[in-house]
C-alpha cells in the first residue's frame, strides 16, 4: 500500500488567478495561500507508530501536513498530540464528550456485527459492514448540526445512526422489503446511494439551492476511495468550485474498492485531487475520532462562512469484507489486516480514555450492555419489518397512477387470486 501514500512529485495546486477566500479560519495568519490545504501543520510529530503509513517528505512544502501526512490528534497509543490546525476546534472536548463518542462507536459496531450475523442467518440478502470506519463516520456526523443534509453511499450507517435512523430502517433495504429505509427529509439524510459517486452531484445541487435561498445549511457528500475515479465525482467538484457551493466532500479512503487497492484509483494521495479543481483539501487520520471531528468542524465553519466547498480525505481501513458476499482473503493478507487492527478506532479512544484516567472499565461495560440491547432490539425489529403487498409494486411510479399501470395492477391482482388455493378467503 505504500505506493498509495507516497506523494511523488506534484505541481503546486495553487492557481495564481484563484480568487482568495474572503475569510479563512483555517489558514494561518499571514499565509500567502488562501487555502487551509496550504497551511503547514505546526504540530510536532511524535515517534509513535503512525496511523496511516507515514509518507516520504512531500515535494511541495505548502502541502505538508495538509494533504500528505494525515492530521492526527490521537496517536495509536492513545496519547493526545498537539495539532495546530485542529486544536482550536477541540477546546470543548471533555470527558463526557469522549465517553459519548466511545458509546456511539461501540453501539454502531455492535449493530453492524448484528447485521452481519442476521445476513449469515438468511435474514438479510446482503450487508456492507463498516467495521473499522466508526471514527470517520461518527467523528463526521457528530460534528455537524442537524440541519445539514447528508448524501451518502451505502456504508455510512454510522452517519445514519447519528441522524436518528432506526437500526431496522438501516437494514430494511438489505432485507429487500423497501428501496428506501427512511424518509430523507425527516432524517436529513438521503437514501444511501448504490451507484458509485452519483450522490456527490446531488449534494452540490442541494448546497447551491441552500445558498441561493440564503440559508446556512451545508450539504455533505460521503463517498469512498473507489468513487474518486467516477466521472460524476470530478464533475461534482467542478460544479461545487465554480459555484462556490456550500458542500463538504467527505471521502472515506478505506484502502479498497471491493478488491481494488486505492493505488489503482490514484497514484498520489486522494486529497491532492480536489486542489486541481480549486477545492481546499485536508487529509486526516480517519481512525482518530477527534481528528475527524475537528477537521469536520473546521471545514464546516469555513464552508458556512461562504468560502465555498471543501474536501476531507479520512484515511481509514475496512476491517471486514466489502459486503457479506465478499472474500477478502483473495486480495489482502493477514499482516496488513493485523496492522490495521492495531489502529482500530475504538481501541484508540479506549486507550486515550485510559490515559486520561477516565473510568474506562465502567464505560466498556456500558458500551457492551448498550450494544447488546441495541442488537437484540434490532433482531426483533428486523423480523417484524412489514413485507409489502404485491400491489405495492405499482405505487409511486409517477405522482399519480396512469390507466396503463392501473390495468397491470388489476391483472396482477387477478392472477394472484387465480393462484390462491381454492376456498381461501380473498
Amino acid at each position: 500500500m505504500s505506493t498509495t501514500m507516497s506523494a511523488g512529485s506534484t505541481r503546486s495546486p495553487r492557481d495564481e488567478h484563484h480568487d482568495p477566500a474572503p475569510s479563512d479560519p483555517a489558514a494561518p495568519r499571514g499565509a500567502a495561500a488562501p487555502h487551509p490545504a496550504a497551511a503547514r501543520s505546526a504540530g510536532p510529530r511524535s515517534a509513535a507508530p503512525d496511523p496511516a503509513e507515514p509518507d516520504p517528505a512531500p515535494s511541495h512544502p505548502d502541502l505538508a501536513g495538509a494533504v500528505d501526512q494525515p492530521l492526527q490528534v490521537l496517536a495509536v497509543d492513545g496519547t493526545r498530540r498537539p495539532e495546530a490546525q485542529l486544536d482550536p476546534c477541540l477546546r470543548d472536548v471533555d470527558e463526557a464528550q469522549l465517553a459519548a463518542l466511545f458509546l456511539d462507536m461501540s453501539v454502531i459496531r455492535a449493530l453492524d456485527d448484528e447485521a452481519v450475523a442476521l445476513q449469515r442467518q438468511g435474514e438479510l440478502g446482503l450487508w456492507p459492514p463498516l467495521r473499522g470506519q466508526e471514527a470517520a463516520q461518527i467523528g463526521l456526523a457528530r460534528a455537524l448540526p442537524e440541519r445539514d443534509f447528508f448524501f451518502t453511499s451505502y456504508r455510512e450507517n454510522g452517519v445514519a445512526w447519528c441522524r436518528g435512523v432506526e437500526p431496522a430502517e438501516m437494514l430494511s433495504v438489505w432485507r429487500g422489503t423497501t428501496l428506501s429505509g427512511w424518509d430523507p427529509f425527516a432524517r436529513r439524510m438521503a437514501t444511501p446511494q448504490v451507484i458509485i459517486g452519483a450522490q456527490t452531484h446531488h449534494a452540490v445541487g442541494y448546497a447551491m439551492a441552500m445558498a441561493a435561498r440564503g440559508q446556512e445549511d451545508i450539504a455533505i457528500a460521503c463517498f469512498g476511495d473507489g468513487a474518486m475515479s467516477q466521472g460524476d465525482v470530478s464533475e461534482a467538484m467542478v460544479f461545487a468550485a465554480s459555484f462556490r457551493a456550500p458542500v463538504l466532500f467527505f471521502c472515506q479512503n478505506n484502502h479498497y474498492a471491493i478488491s481494488e487497492p486505492v493505488a489503482l484509483q490514484s497514484t498520489v494521495p486522494l486529497s491532492h485531487r480536489p486542489l486541481g479543481f480549486g477545492i481546499p483539501s485536508l487529509r486526516v487520520d480517519g481512525n482518530d475520532v477527534l481528528a475527524v471531528r475537528a477537521a469536520t468542524r473546521l471545514a464546516a465553519e469555513r464552508i458556512r462562512s461562504g468560502a465555498g466547498p471543501m474536501f476531507l480525505e479520512a484515511v481509514t481501513y475496512r476491517l471486514g469484507p466489502h459486503t457479506t458476499s465478499d472474500d477478502p482473503t483473495r486480495y489482502r493478507d493477514e499482516t496488513e489486516l493485523e496492522r490495521w487492527r492495531e489502529r482500530d478506532p475504538i481501541l484508540r479512544l479506549d486507550r486515550h480514555l485510559e490515559r486520561l484516567g477516565a473510568p474506562v472499565a465502567q464505560l466498556r461495560t456500558e458500551a457492551d450492555e448498550r450494544g447488546r440491547e441495541a442488537a437484540d432490539a434490532l433482531r426483533d425489529a428486523v423480523a417484524a419489518l412489514p413485507v409489502p403487498a404485491p400491489e405495492a409494486l405499482f405505487e409511486h411510479v409517477l405522482t399519480s397512477e396512469h390507466p396503463g399501470l392501473a390495468r397491470q395492477r388489476e391483472q396482477l391482482t387477478a392472477l394472484e387470486a387465480s393462484l390462491a388455493p381454492a376456498g381461501s378467503a380473498s
Binding site: G125, L126, Y154, V173, W174, R175, G176, T177, T178, L179, V194, I195, I196, G226, A227, M228, S229, Q230, G231, D232, A257, I258, S259, E260, L264, Q265, S325, R330, Y331, V387, P388, P390, A392, L393, F394, V397, G404, L405, Q408, E410, Q411, L412, T413, A414, L415, E416, A417, S418, L419
Partner: protein, 330 residues
C-alpha cells in the same frame, strides 16, 4: 464434452480467446485479483498477466472509452460491467461512440468490443443489481445485442462475440450462472440466429436470457395439460432473427413473448410487431406478452411477483389458446 456451470463455460471461452489471440484483452472492475464478483474471470489474470486481464479504476465510462482507443490500435477488448445497473455511466461511450464509429468512418474503423453485462433479477439483490437494460441497446443501431441461456450456449456465443468485428453487448443471465450442462468448448454459435429449443404445434413461446429455462419449464408443465408449445430462444436481440419466429408462428398460429424487462417499448413490442408485419394472416389469436411490469425494479421482497414465472406464462398461453385465464376468472 464436460459438465460445467455457465460461469465455468464463460471462463473457458474467455481463456481460449486470450490464448488464441494476443490482441484479446479483458478489462473491468475487480476482474483480476478477485476474478470478478461472479468469478467469471477467475484465474485469468494469473494465467495471462495484468496487461491482458486489467483491473480497471472504478469508472465504467472509462472502461468502455479506453477500450475504444484500444480497438483503434487493433486490440479486441472484452469489457466487464460488474452489474447491469452500472452500465449507465458508460452509456454515452456505447451509444454515441462505440455504436457509430464504423458508420461514421465509412467502415474504416472497426470496434470489435464485447461488453459483458450480468443482467436480470431473481437473486434477491439490492437496487441496481437486477436490471434488464437490453432495449436501450437494441434500440441503438450499430450495436449487436446478444443473450445467452445455458452453459453450452454461453460458451459458443462468447466465442462468436469475441470473433465478431462488430461491437457486441453480451448479456449474461446472472441467476443462471450456476446452472450446469454439458459443454463442448470448441463450438461457436451463429450470432445471427435464434434457436428453436423445442418443437411444438399449439403456440410459439419466445424468450431469451434468464427466461429460456423458465420457458422450457413452462412448456414441460403445459405438456401435462395436453398443450404442445414450441420454444424459441431469440439469443440475438439485435439484429433480430424474425424469420425463425415468423416461420414458427406460421405453423402454430399463436405467439407468447416473455422477458423480465418492462413491456413498454421492449423486445416483446418488437417481436410482436415483426410477427404482425410478417405473418399476420397466420395468427389465430392476438399475440400475448409476459413481462416485468412498467415499474422500476422492485425491492427483493416483491421480485417474484414482478418477474414472469411459469404461472404467468401459462396464463398467457391459456389466453392465446382461448382457454379460461386469470383475467376471465376475475
Amino acid at each position: 464434452m464436460t459438465t460445467m456451470t455457465m460461469a465455468a463455460a464463460l471462463n473457458a471461452a474467455l481463456a481460449d480467446a486470450l490464448a488464441a489471440d494476443e490482441d484479446v484483452l479483458l478489462i473491468g472492475e475487480d476482474i483480476g485479483t478477485l476474478g470478478g464478483v461472479f468469478r467469471i474471470t477467475d484465474g485469468l489474470q494469473d494465467r495471462f498477466g495484468a496487461e491482458r486481464v486489467i483491473d480497471a479504476p472504478l469508472a465504467e465510462s472509462g472502461i468502455v472509452g479506453t477500450s475504444v482507443g484500444m480497438a483503434y490500435a487493433g486490440r479486441r477488448p472484452v469489457c466487464e460491467i460488474q452489474f447491469d445497473g452500472f452500465v449507465f455511466p458508460a452509456f454515452d461511450q456505447l451509444v454515441a461512440q462505440v455504436a457509430r464509429l464504423h458508420y461514421r468512418t465509412g467502415g474504416r474503423v472497426r470496434m470489435p468490443l464485447v461488453i459483458r453485462i450480468p443482467f436480470g433479477g431473481g437473486i434477491g439483490a439490492v437496487e441496481h443489481h437486477s436490471e434488464s437494460p437490453e432495449a436501450f441497446f437494441a434500440h441503438t443501431p450499430g450495436l449487436r445485442v446478444v443473450t445467452v441461456a445455458d452453459p453450452q450456449d454461453a460458451c459458443s456465443t462468447m466465442r462468436a462475440a469475441i470473433a465478431c468485428d462488430d461491437p457486441v453487448i453480451l448479456l449474461e443471465p446472472k441467476r443462471r450462472y450456476w446452472g450446469k450442462g454439458e459443454v463442448d468448448t470448441s463450438l461457436t454459435a451463429d450470432l445471427d440466429s435464434a434457436r428453436v429449443l423445442r418443437r411444438g404445434r399449439d403456440a410459439t413461446l419466445v424468450a431469451y436470457g434468464p427466461l429460456v429455462v423458465t420457458a422450457l419449464e413452462a412448456a414441460a408443465a403445459a405438456e401435462d395439460d395436453g398443450i404442445d408449445l414450441e420454444v424459441i430462444d431469440l439469443r440475438s436481440l439485435a439484429p433480430l432473427d424474425r424469420d425463425t419466429v415468423a416461420a414458427s408462428v406460421r405453423r402454430t398460429g399463436r405467439l407468447v413473448v416473455a422477458h423480465e424487462a418492462s413491456g413498454t417499448v421492449s423486445l416483446s413490442s418488437e417481436v410482436i410487431t415483426c410477427v404482425i408485419e410478417d405473418c399476420f394472416e397466420h395468427l389465430e389469436a392476438a399475440p400475448e406478452r409476459v413481462t416485468g411490469y412498467d415499474v422500476p425494479y422492485p425491492p427483493a421482497a416483491l421480485e417474484d411477483h414482478h418477474l414472469p414465472g411459469i404461472d404467468r406464462i401459462l396464463d398467457a398461453v391459456d389466453r392465446t389458446l382461448g382457454r379460461r385465464s386469470s383475467r376471465e376468472a376475475a
